[in-house]
Amino acid sequence: MISSLCLATALGAGQDKTWDALVRGRSALAPCRFDRLPIAAYAGEAGGLNDAPLIGDWAPFDCRNNRLAEQALRADGFEAAVERAKALYGPSRIGLFTGTSTSGILQTEEAYRQLCPMNGTLPPGFDYDRTHNTYALGRFVRTRLGLAGPSFTISTACAATAKVFAAASRMVAAGLCDAAVVGGADSFCATTLFGFQSLGVMAEGPCRPFDAERSGISIGEGAGFALLERADAAAAGEALMLLGTGESSDAYHMSSPDPEGRGAEEAMRRALSHAGLRPEAIDYIHMHGTATLAGDAAEDKAVTTLFGAHTPRSSTKGFTGHTLGAAGIVSAAIGALSIQHGFLPGSPHTSRLDPAFASGHLLEGREARVDRVMCNAFGFGGVNCAVILGRAA
């Protein structure tokens, strides 16, 4: 079961702020302030990071990505939940499986602009291991939370923090740990902003998932973590459960999805099979829906093939932006909120649904009982992952 969840995005730190924005239809996207970007892109920038350096023992880890992770860890009573779990299982029996795409590479981008003019070396104080390296995030969170179990950082582009749910449940099943913290963070860096712009998949203005006029993504910052434990009888009923995960590969192209959506469909099929559920059991699909022409079309095809036209579905990228490596945990957190509050979020900047798409897309949020949610996350390299969350009963 998922006994605790924390979240920080451009909508604010904490699930309440996210929830409030989803219900009110308030998007956090605003003109991107990153220097030199040649298009009028919008982005979802997390607040409060510039003046919140990591200090004391954590100072060596200081970089934008770890600051964002810290912001999430402080939200939603997550630290207290982890302390309770440490007392119960022991720190060495709690695994930590994090995900990120670019970790703290922003730090290295800045360092490359300050190379020593004499010998070309990086500036003093640059700490590769604790900022740039992909595992810098895992190392920071593991130290910060005082965990001592198995740990690694998955970096499978925009599906990274969906895959951590699958990895953690296998580690618990294999007996290497009794509980796990999963999640991750991705924050702004020039590598991804200029990279997506170079691919021609970044929108001018805010992103419009599944809109007939959609023109690409808006990048967002996001971090979130979940505490996974074996369900106990006392918690059954209303407890939020990780019901299943499914993973697949497109085997098609490094940066374009298979237009038939076969890989996405396979990941969702595997998740249903893992959960022992039929497609009808899913009440809401939290789509990956990044608002690229090809990605949205492939996902719509995959979802419609598997679920038909009617299962309600939406992408919340118009609220938060595409949080890249954090998209999986943000998706899971919003899925969990939709179950908890009985509300299906809409898609703020989507004004006219692409007529080629099936009818289940929600543009406006609405109330509905939700017992089980499918959360999708797909990424470069043709990597696909679907996570099903739901009530125990």
């Binding site: 030199r36 040649p38 060495s92 795409s101 590479i105 290295t108 981008e109 490359y112 190379l115 070309g120 070396t121 990086l122 640059f126 590769y128 291991d129 740039h132 390296n133 992909t134 595992y135 895992g138 190392r139 001592a148 179990g149 198995p150 740990s151 690694f152 950082t153 998955i154 970096s155 499978t156 582009a157 895959k163 990895a167 296998r170 580690m171 099943a173 294999a174 007996g175 290497l176 590598t191 200029f194 990279g195 997506f196 712009q197 170079s198 691919l199 021609g200 993973e247 697949s248 590969s249 497109d250 085997a251 098609y252 490094m254 940066s255 990424g379 470069f380 390299g381 043709g382 990597v383």
Partner: protein, 268 residues
């Protein structure tokens, strides 16, 4: 404890040109002679992708292809776990240089080659595998992390899985911040039950009190083990090459090691 059976091994490193040629070195029959890395052409890849694939991908694919050939299995139906400390450092360096310069325009190919799962992506295209592929990092402990992830997958799915671990030197200023002097890739096709005769069995256990980590054998390989994250596998490879029962301890995290019992499958 995670029990696994080794179906096939691939190796590509400096002076370690494939598993078959490395066997006499790892068993101590012939001395280790350092030699420049020779990466076989990525014949698995379609021509377009072969042109675009960076060196890390060629290296990882070479080890993976050799392991599947040895196992006599198809990569198209086998899930894959890639483990690397830094992904493709050359691509990262080149992007960082461009971004620090006057014109920050990036090449789209270079951008998609910069993701940590670049080798996993090309691998699935090359093999046609629609099975899951993951890519993970635990800094110097990336090999051990990949091995437990591969083991947990094999156990959960009751099916074979391939682990491909690779690392390459960073060029430019990052070479000093993260010293990885050599490039090496290793691939292990692993299954939860032996598929062929004469397979070796490995039992994985985490041990939180870190004893002495097993050194590389022969000792000439120890500097590589210490400095190349993927080469943290060398003590395991030596034990597998010798085909005798052994207990080894691999580097994982600061406070956690990976203990492996190695032995012939039928003796377990």
């Amino acid at each position: 404890m995670i029990p696994l059976f080794v179906e096939g091994i691939g190796l590509c490193g400096p002076g370690l040109a494939g598993w078959a040629l490395s066997l006499p070195i790892l068993t101590g029959k012939t001395p280790y002679v350092p030699a420049p890395l020779a990466v076989p052409p990525a014949s698995l890849l379609p021509a377009n992708e072969r042109r675009r694939a960076p060196q890390s991908v060629r290296l990882a694919l070479a080890a993976g292809a050799e392991a599947f050939e040895a196992a006599g299995m198809s990569p198209a139906t086998t899930p894959a776990v890639f483990a690397s400390s830094g992904g493709d450092g050359e691509t990262i360096h080149s992007i960082l240089e461009t971004l620090a310069g006057p014109d920050p325009a990036l090449s789209p190919t270079r951008f998609h080659n910069s993701v940590h799962n670049v080798a996993a992506g090309y691998w699935s295209i090359a093999t046609g595998a629609r099975t899951p592929a993951t890519s993970l990092c635990a800094h110097d402990g990336s090999f051990a992390a990949g091995l437990i992830e591969a083991g947990a997958q094999a156990m959960a799915e009751r099916d074979a899985v391939v682990l491909i671990a690779y690392d390459l030197p960073y060029p430019g200023p990052l070479a000093l911040a993260r010293l990885i002097p050599e490039a090496l890739a290793v691939a292990l096709v692993l299954s939860p039950a032996p598929r062929g005769v004469g397979r070796m069995r490995i039992d994985l256990n985490l041990s939180s009190h870190r004893g002495a980590v097993t050194a590389a054998s022969p000792p000439d390989l120890e500097p590589m083990r210490r400095t190349v994250p993927a080469a943290r596998c060398l003590p395991l490879l030596a034990a597998l090459a010798c085909r005798a029962p052994a207990e080894i301890t691999l580097d994982y995290l600061d406070d956690l090691a990976l203990h492996i019992r190695v032995g012939p499958a039928d003796a377990a």
